[in-house]
């Protein structure tokens, strides 16, 4: 069970959370002007990376807030959690969390 840092509540167990899939896919401003293919891509196509993934989480059984997270899908480790609306953190700029063997 993951341990997830809610930006408002701090570290909480995964069972309090709901995962909402890939982050930073804004709903288009004017869907009716999109082609079917672009609409399909918005609805269904996902990056699904093996590695760092920006994803949405909601602290559903906690403060209720949605937020974004960067998590490595190979190690399942979170690199960052950040509030909705903030840009994806530039991990290169932030030093990797220290890890002692």
């Amino acid at each position: 069970m993951l341990l997830i840092r809610c930006p408002h509540c701090g570290n909480r167990p995964e069972i309090e959370f709901h995962c909402g899939g890939e982050a930073h896919i804004a709903r288009p401003e004017t869907p009716s002007e999109m082609t079917d293919q672009h609409w399909a891509e918005f609805l269904y196509y996902r990056t699904n990376p093996k590695g760092m993934h920006a994803e949405r989480w909601q602290h559903r059984h906690g403060c209720g807030r949605w937020f974004n997270a960067l998590r490595d899908t190979v190690t399942d480790k979170f690199a960052a959690t950040y509030e909705m609306g903030s840009p994806r953190p530039d991990l290169a700029a932030t030093p990797a969390p220290a890890r002692t063997a």
């Binding site: 069970m1 993951l2 995964e14 069972i15 709901h18 995962c19 899939g21 890939e22 079917d36 293919q37 399909a40 891509e41 609805l43 269904y44 196509y45 996902r46 990056t47 699904n48 990376p49 093996k50 993934h53 994803e55 998590r71 899908t73 190979v74 190690t75 399942d76």
Partner: protein, 417 residues
Amino acid sequence: MRRFSLASLLKESTKGHTGWERQWRAPEPKKEYDVVIVGGGGHGLATAYYLATVHGVTNVAIIEKGWIGGGNTGRNTTIIRSNYLFDESAALYNHAMNLWEGLSQELNYNIMFSQRGVLMLAHNHHDVVTFKRHVYSNKLNGVDNEWLSPEECKAFCPPLTISKDIRYPVMGGALQRKGGTARHDAVAWGYARGADARGVDIIQNCEVTGLQRNPDGSVKAVETTRGTIGARKVGVVAAGHTGVVMGRFGLRMPVESVPLQALVSEPVKPCFPCVVMSNAVHAYISQSDKGELVIGAGTDQYNSYSQQGGIHVTNHTLDAICELFPQFTRMRMLRSWGGIVDVTPDRSPILSKTPIKNLFVNCGWGTGGFKATPGSGHVFAHMLATGEPHEINAPYSLDRFRTGRLIDEAAAAAVSH
């Protein structure tokens, strides 16, 4: 290929079994193949087998990054059934069912296809209606499926509780007698041996890392950890890694990879005669030939390539198992594991052309593709050989996500596996 039979087995037993040959070779990759299949799971191996046997295409390589059958083929709960609702699905899965029935003999490899019956339990009005809808649809499509009363369910599966006092009493069930289980590893090995015998190269420990294209954009070669391998056509059959492989080829897919867990109990004497699935309480259970109860758990909620998930998923599954079979609380979990399943938006697979010429993809089987292995390989081989979909897999194109012609069994029934 040395034939397997009781006679050959007895003969070998007098010689300490020293006369058996390799079941498949370990060849060096050739320079170029007519078809390169990325992924040595059941689907990829079956594809190669049918390419060779049905279409006479034998200059084929299967490229597997690990060991064949080590993906979801080797870690699934082996439930086989074909009682799907929609015509498109019934056609696909029943095609597989027909092939399963003669597969041990065809492959000359006992894959232990055990038609012990798959019983899907209904626990509420909605389930009842949904399953009856399936039963009727299946009958008209020539797919075996029948409705059982709770008492009939109990008679078919004596360990089952049909007490009215449990949280979700059993209100009946849909039984597919032809359904059952098979020995998952043997399916991979049997196809591998069959394909190898017909000239297909099975190349293990070789990861596909990229694609080279001709000036016209069509497929030219795959790049691998063991060098570049020429390919006139490429079929990607990489299940949970489809997104990764296609990503390396420059394409995004309507697929997400999530962990799906399963577990086995310690082995016990036969105590569970069939397969039981309960969607409402979320439980799948059967007993293997070795005696373990094989239990399917749920998916974790997040994308992951880690082949493991949280213990809460296991706990939840066992809650449901023990609700239906309270006598099993004293059984013990022996081993639990996870696979990476490739889930599409409509939970139906993709067997499709792609925007790249001569590149084809077979994926999206998610939590339920083992049962389709022979059928999937059979129609995908057709597609690779002819360049055009078989009529059975035509509806499973990528284009359906654009048009909205989804094949959403899950939405129609909330049934998985």
